[in-house]
């Protein structure tokens, strides 16, 4: 008996070691593309920033720090970012509060207006502001004024409007859940409404608030589309990267500024992840949802705020739509469809490229983030922890930095990825990995919710892992996967930053066309391209919504 046990023990030990290696395998397989398309380009950026004519060294950084212009640009960036983020947060909080916690009319309409800018290319705010307040803008022409918006305030206003919908989504989610019992207790204890807001509402939404602050900070400091269009001579770090790389082909300086940009974005992303991890457990299963009560004065005040902000958002979008339909802005304001003929270089092709890239990014993105989330949940191992880190790492990487990394890493015939370099595929891949963290967190939350018990039930009934996945996990995950696909599609349609360095004359995408046309002064055509992007996204959203409704999935949020 003893001998038998000993004989059996040895293979068991060996088997367990092999099992441990086998358990790592899925994480390694799923992690490889992340290493190739995130870590590898970042390593190239880092390496290049240290490369000087005399070999490796800190010379680039030293040159930068000793350069007064650079220090001024850094200061500019922070001056824009801090002010824009602060203003956007206050506005978004008030708006989200009005939508979630008041009884003002048309709350659903206001909610839709708030997220409308997400359907437009990421520089639409600057585009709209130029049309309204530019030298040839509607206001200056109509009233003979001399408002000069180009520069600091132009960037700040554009940035506030740019990040508003992102902040609104986060804060709206934070304000959506509340425990009525706590508010009743506060009232019974004699707290005034203002006191209840300070002592109950604000603390309960502090994690959402922190997350929104960091998201706004990162978005503004890494945005270059708006500063390019409306910044005038006022340069910020993000537009400086573009100038150095595209304008002067100075990759070394581009990478150094990219690294400088990476640091605050990375810190913000890390703090945000740490903070939002604590977001749960505020609501217990016994809590009773808060139903907003009527309060005329409060509702009226909030309605006024919502109307004002909505007016600002709508006027930006509507003036772009309007400009796309007039003969020649602002000289001949007669109706014309001539800008939709797209008699520019490449014609309408960039829009088709965008759609093609976005569909591809949606497909690849869903598979990539779901595979990562699934492997981390079902095959726990040390490698899975590494995979988790890689999966959320892109949240800290500005799109331009990632795009620049792609040039440096893949623009060499010796690299196997070179085969797709300069094609639409690499643009789709850049978008997938740029937005990887967000998509990954959505699918991870979903997979966690449906995990454990169904797997066990299926296993005891004789289901293999594959059968469980196909028959149970996938059907339950389906609505979330559609949501993630829509997310990748939308962002890929509107983004500039990740793709700006990767496009070629043949692979130009619509959002970049808007930037180029606007830059050349072809305002009307730029507007027409923007309208096409907005229309495409709205059509896709509507089609997906109808499809999901037809399949019985009504409570799926498509706008993230």
């Amino acid at each position: 008996m003893t001998a038998l046990t000993a004989d059996r023990a040895a293979p068991a030990v060996r088997r367990s070691r092999r099992n441990r290696l086998a358990a790592m395998l899925p994480a390694v397989v799923v992690g490889l593309p992340l290493i190739l398309f995130v870590l590898f380009p970042l390593a190239h950026i880092l390496g290049r920033s240290f490369s000087t004519p005399d070999g490796f060294g800190l010379a680039n950084y030293a040159a930068m720090l000793g350069n007064e212009r650079f220090l001024r640009i850094t200061w500019n960036s922070f001056a824009v970012t801090l002010v824009s983020a602060a203003v956007a947060i206050v506005m978004a909080y008030a708006f989200a509060y009005a939508v979630q916690r008041s009884t003002m009319p048309l709350r659903n309409l206001f909610r839709m207006i708030a997220v409308l800018p997400l359907f437009a290319p990421s520089l639409v705010q600057a585009q709209g502001l130029v049309l309204l307040f530019g030298r040839n803008g509607l206001i200056n022409r109509s009233f003979g004024l001399g408002i000069d918006l180009y520069g600091y305030w132009g960037i700040v206003i554009a940035s506030v409007l740019y990040v508003f919908p992102y902040a609104f989504l986060i804060l709206s989610a934070a304000l959506a859940v509340a425990d009525a019992r706590i508010y009743e207790s506060a009232e019974m204890l004699g707290a005034s409404k203002w006191r209840a807001f300070r002592t109950v509402t604000l603390p309960a939404t502090r994690y959402g608030l922190a997350a929104a602050i960091f998201v706004c900070f990162t978005l503004v400091i890494t945005d270059f589309g708006n500063p390019m269009v409306i910044g005038g001579d006022y340069t910020v770090l993000a537009s400086e990267v573009y100038n150095q790389v595209i304008g002067q082909a100075n990759f070394e300086m581009g990478t150094v500024i990219g690294m400088v940009l990476l640091i605050p974005a990375a810190i913000a992303a890390m703090v945000e992840k740490r903070v939002s991890a604590k977001q749960y457990a505020l609501i217990s299963e016994h809590s009773r949802p808060l139903v907003p009560q009527k309060d005329r004065l409060r509702d009226l005040a909030l309605l006024a705020v919502a109307v004002l902000i909505s007016a600002a958002i709508l006027s930006i979008v509507l003036v772009v739509v309007f400009a796309s339909f007039v003969h020649l802005w602002p000289y001949r304001m007669t109706f014309s469809l001539r800008h939709y003929a797209f008699d520019v270089q490449n014609g309408i092709q960039p829009l088709w490229n965008s759609i093609y890239v976005s569909v591809m990014a949606a497909g690849i993105g869903v598979v990539a983030v779901t595979a990562a989330a699934y492997v981390i949940e079902k095959f726990p191992s040390p490698a899975a922890r590494g995979l988790y880190f890689l999966s959320i790492l892109p949240a800290a990487v500005p799109g331009m930095v990632l795009g620049l990394g792609y040039i440096l890493a893949f623009n060499s015939p010796s690299n196997p990825v070179y085969a797709i370099y300069g094609t639409l595929v690499i643009i789709a891949i850049a978008n997938v990995y740029y937005y990887h963290a967000h998509g990954f967190l959505i699918s991870g939350t979903s997979i966690k919710q449906i995990s454990g018990r169904f797997d066990e039930a299926s296993a005891t009934l004789g289901g293999s892992r594959r059968q469980t996945f196909a028959k149970v996990t996938l059907p339950l995950l389906f609505p979330t996967l559609v949501g993630i696909a829509v997310f990748f599609f939308m962002r890929s349609m509107v983004t500039l930053s990740a793709v700006i360095f990767l496009i070629t004359p043949n692979t130009q995408v619509a959002a970049v066309s808007v930037l180029y046309l606007q830059d050349r002064g072809a305002t009307n055509q730029a507007a027409a391209f923007s309208v096409c992007i907005i229309a495409t996204i709205m059509a896709v959203l509507l089609a997906v919504r109808l499809l999901l409704n037809a399949m019985g999935h009504r409570n799926v949020s498509l706008i993230r």
Partner: protein
């Protein structure tokens, strides 16, 4: 179909969840694992199901070692506490799922699912989703699903705890009846002693990862092996004794006994001093809990630290409560030596 556990041990970190559990279950038997939460009963069930691995020991079915066989190849039916019905499938598809995974022909799957739903009286609800069924109905679907692939053993993990009292009682009988008809070996985990007493052939009482006692309901009630079992099943007055005496009164217990128990219904009360020649202690009534058909009288006796609870018929309580003096008798044949 003998199911045998031998020397099963499981640790979670430094805590021992199961400590050297050995147990043999006969074919067709209905066994309950009974114990307070954290005693290891659910872990033991999960090890039998193959959802968790024991560090030491084996699980064998008819001398076939299952220790290394994954859950999906064991052919054990499991009903989970939270039902775990697949929310994307109708009741019928849930029930047919096990056969579907075994690659059976469609006609057979449908016929079997219909048959099982008929057995649990849910034929009318075959095409409903779990969310459209009540808790009791969901649990019956879960039972039908577990039984549909004709499992060797049926495992029930607190199957009734999420249901309200009325449904629970009727499902108890239904499950027991079904189990008898199918003659399937069944293990149920519960923390509810009444559930265990009414359903099981034999009860395994567990305490902190060990088996405290195995026996029929009657054996456990009449001859508890330890203070834990005595107090967990039914009520028990537990009293320390020394040198065979309780408060100076000699008892018919072994000289070395240190702890005895007596059930409240076995305590005999006399209004007055009681019949002479018997061992009777003078007692004082401190509290009366009137329950209608019964009453619990709480008494204190000089020289005994703990109060003693006696159960009397409801109509008898007034006579005793009004008596100027109460005599408390512990009949020798009802005294249980616990340590």
């Amino acid at each position: 179909m003998t199911l045998a556990l031998s020397h099963v041990t499981k640790r979670f970190g430094n805590t021992v969840a199961l400590d050297d559990i050995s147990l043999t279950i006969e074919r067709g038997e209905f066994i309950c694992f009974l114990g307070p939460s954290g005693c290891g009963k659910t872990t033991l069930l999960r090890i039998i199901a193959g959802l968790e691995l024991a560090e030491e020991g084996t699980v064998t079915l008819e001398d076939r070692d299952l220790s290394e066989v994954p859950a999906r190849h064991r052919n054990f039916g499991v009903v989970f506490q939270s039902y775990s019905l697949f929310p994307n499938m109708t009741a019928a598809r849930n029930v047919g799922y096990g056969l579907e995974c075994r690659g059976r022909p469609r006609a057979e799957i449908e016929a079997r699912a219909a048959e099982m739903l008929r057995i649990v009286a849910l034929s009318d609800h075959a095409h409903k989703l779990p969310s459209q069924l009540s808790g009791g109905q969901q649990q019956r679907v879960a039972l039908a699903r577990a039984l549909a692939p004709d499992p060797e053993v049926l495992l029930l993990d607190e199957p009734l705890s999420a249901l309200d009292a009325k449904v629970r009682e009727s499902l108890r009988l239904e499950i027991r009846d079904l189990q008898r008809r199918l003659g399937i070996t069944t293990i149920m985990v519960t923390h509810d002693q009444e559930e265990a007493l009414t359903m099981a052939d034999r009860i395994v009482v567990m305490d902190t990862g060990r088996i405290a006692q195995i026996g029929t309901a009657r054996e456990l009630y009449d001859r508890p092996a330890s203070r834990f079992v005595a107090e967990f099943i039914g009520r028990m007055n537990v009293l320390p004794v020394a040198g065979g005496r309780l408060a100076g009164l000699p008892l018919a217990v072994p000289q070395g006994a240190t702890l005895i128990g007596i059930r409240p219904e076995d305590v005999r009360l006399h209004a007055g001093e009681g019949p002479p020649g018997r061992a009777i202690l003078p007692a004082r009534l401190t509290n009366t809990i009137y329950l209608g058909n019964l009453a619990h009288l709480v008494l204190s006796v000089e020289g005994i630290e703990h109060e003693i609870v006696a159960e009397v018929p409801g109509h008898a309580c007034k006579a005793i409560a009004d008596a100027p003096q109460i005599g408390l008798e512990l009949p020798a044949e009802t005294i249980k030596v616990l340590a």
